[in-house]
Amino acid sequence: MTRKQRKALHAIVVYSLIALLCLFAFLPMLWMASTSFKTSSEQFVSPPRWIPHNPTFEHYTKIFFPTRLSSGSFQIYFFNSLFISFMTTILALIVALPASYAFSRFSFPGKDSAYFAVLARNMFPLIVFLIPLFSMMRILGWINTYTGLIVAYMTFTLPLAIWLLKGFFDGIPTELEKAGRIDGCSRFGAFMRLIVPLTASGMTAAGVNTFIQAWNEYGFARQLTESASMRTIPVGLAYFFTENTSDWGGLMASAFLFSVPVVILFMVIQRFFIAALTQGAVKQ
């Protein structure tokens, strides 16, 4: 084999593997989209059809205008998910920004243990926090409230956000704040005017991550909400299966709409996001 042929073969192997991986990721998504446009009878025909013969929007109509009174409508789930994810992101950033800055810049008693405690959260499966959280929320009267869920989501969004942002702060030379303080800023002023603008990409990375984590969360939302009006989309999806029925069409239509915001979010800021993650990782 010549050198050229070897290179070509190499490319073929690499691209085949990549294609296989893409198929693996995309086929279920395509199947989901396809099924959401099929009538109930067409969903189970054999052999399965990728393109529906009689495309229908009935499932979409159904999820927005449910006939059963007990089930919430998709727009309510959607609003709940959006609101909770958005507020979780804002709160996580508000807390993580000063926290990670302190971990990066200050030395204070118990700093290492505190930082360890933050990261140690990741050593336990989330589900072990559910029961204590549930008890706490009940005492606080936060069961079935937005506040309850948003606060509960801090347990898994904050550690990652703090860790990510600390990496960014570590990469910014301390001389910048020193120069700022000499140039006329207070310590806090230097942080706000000089350091925060430099972490814009870091905040985006941490923010997007937090948003997606909160958007996808199921377990906490399932246990800490009670009424249909408080359900988030992942919880709502579970209600398409009842004891007697399995509403595949409704499920697929909802799941399809559920994935759209995240896909769009990712497509828009993908480049930025990757740059941000690698920039934080490599210190200058």
């Binding site: 030379p173 001389e175 910048l176 020193k178 120069a179 700022g180 303080r181 000499i182 140039d183 006329g184 800023c185 207070s186 000089l194 603008p197 430099l198």
Partner: protein, 364 residues
């Protein structure tokens, strides 16, 4: 511009006294350098003057004001950092504007000052660029510019040339010195490079272990070092410091350096020897105070070449005196001795220093 006074300032980290009772009085319009090896406390001292590090004791005055408790922004200082610390998200112009805007200086005055600083530093054509688009030397100029526009009472420089390549460092060295004289600025400059200190400063404070070892003009430090540390630190190549013992032979005091016993001829050196407290001393000789002479010269030392280092305009010869490797300037630039070649050395007794081995202090 203003004078700066440090009165018994102290900084401790745990058990370490990073800055140990340092007092300096720096005159108005003076260029003073704090120089010393890493960890000597020079940068800590500078940061204490800036207000970036709190004092554990003592006072700092800028002009007549006690600034010990003031925030950096209220001390009327400007600082240039080793890594320049330019604000990466701001253009050069905005970097220069930032300190002025923080001080609420009106737009016209600010523009005037920026243009003046840009002209002095020849960075006019760079004003709209971002720091990332500049070379190291250009970034350094912008950092200087950001200090100049402030028109501060004191300029503080924290190893500003260390990140530049050797050639640029020489050029900027000249420029900073020129700038200080042009602006009639009080400048406190920190470096570990004694050549920078020697070439730029009106006075130098040599620091070691948190203390000022000697504060004086470059000439004073070079010609009259207070102690062994200053003698070994100032000068390039450093002073040859040879451990010696004072011995009496036939009622005559001599200096024994390893295998060699040196009988001083001059009254000056005898006088120094008589002033020594113990019998252990250190003999200090600059490379130019040891002469290569013809073999057989009376009261000269015979030794052998270790290496020869031609630099172009000077040729250094390394050879042992006693057990100590010494550097000697060869009188003949073209001298190219080989390992083991015999040479004869004559010590210049008028320029021989004697230090107490125990305290390190110069015997005078």
């Amino acid at each position: 511009m203003a004078e700066v006074s440090l009165k018994n300032i102290v900084k401790t980290y745990g058990d370490v006294r990073a800055v140990d009772d340092v007092s300096l009085h720096i005159h108005d319009k003076e260029f003073v350098t704090l120089v010393g090896p890493s960890g000597c406390g020079k940068t800590t001292t500078l940061h204490m003057i800036a207000g970036l590090i709190d004092l554990d004791g003592g006072h700092i005055f800028i002009g007549k004001r006690d600034v010990s408790e003031l925030d950096p922004k209220d001390r009327d200082i400007a600082m240039v950092f080793q890594n320049y610390a330019l604000y990466p998200h701001k253009s050069v112009r905005d970097n220069l504007l930032f300190p002025l805007r923080m001080r609420k200086i009106d737009k016209n005055t600010a523009d005037q000052r920026i243009n003046r600083a840009a002209k002095i530093l020849s960075i006019e054509q760079l004003l709209d660029r971002k720091p990332k688009q500049l070379s190291g030397g250009q970034q350094q100029r912008v950092a200087l510019g950001r200090a100049i526009v402030r028109d501060p009472a004191v300029f503080l420089m924290d190893e500003p040339l260390s990140n530049l390549d050797a050639k640029l460092r020489l050029q900027m060295r000249t420029e900073i010195k020129h700038l200080q004289q042009e602006l009639q600025a009080t400048m406190i400059y920190v470096t570990h490079d004694q050549i920078e200190a020697m070439t730029m400063s009106d006075r130098i404070a040599v620091m070691d272990k948190g203390k000022v070892q000697q504060f004086g003009t470059p000439d004073e430090l070079f010609n009259h070092p207070n102690n062994v540390f200053v003698a070994g630190f100032i000068g390039n190549p450093p002073m040859n410091l040879i451990p010696a013992q004072i011995v009496s032979e036939g009622g005559d005091k001599k200096l024994r350096m390893g295998q060699i016993t040196f009988a001083p001829q001059s009254a000056r050196v005898h006088d120094l020897i008589n002033k020594a407290v113990g019998d252990k001393v250190v003999v200090g000789l600059r490379n130019t105070a040891i002469h290569m002479v013809a073999a057989g010269t009376p009261s000269a030392i015979n030794t052998q070449v270790y290496t020869v280092e031609p630099t172009g305009d000077v040729t250094y010869v390394q050879a042992n005196i006693g057990d100590k490797m010494c550097t000697i300037s060869s009188p003949d630039v073209a001298y190219r001795g080989r390992l083991g070649d015999p040479i004869t050395l004559k010590l210049d007794e008028n320029r021989l220093y004697l230090f107490d081995e125990l305290t390190g202090k110069a015997i005078v």
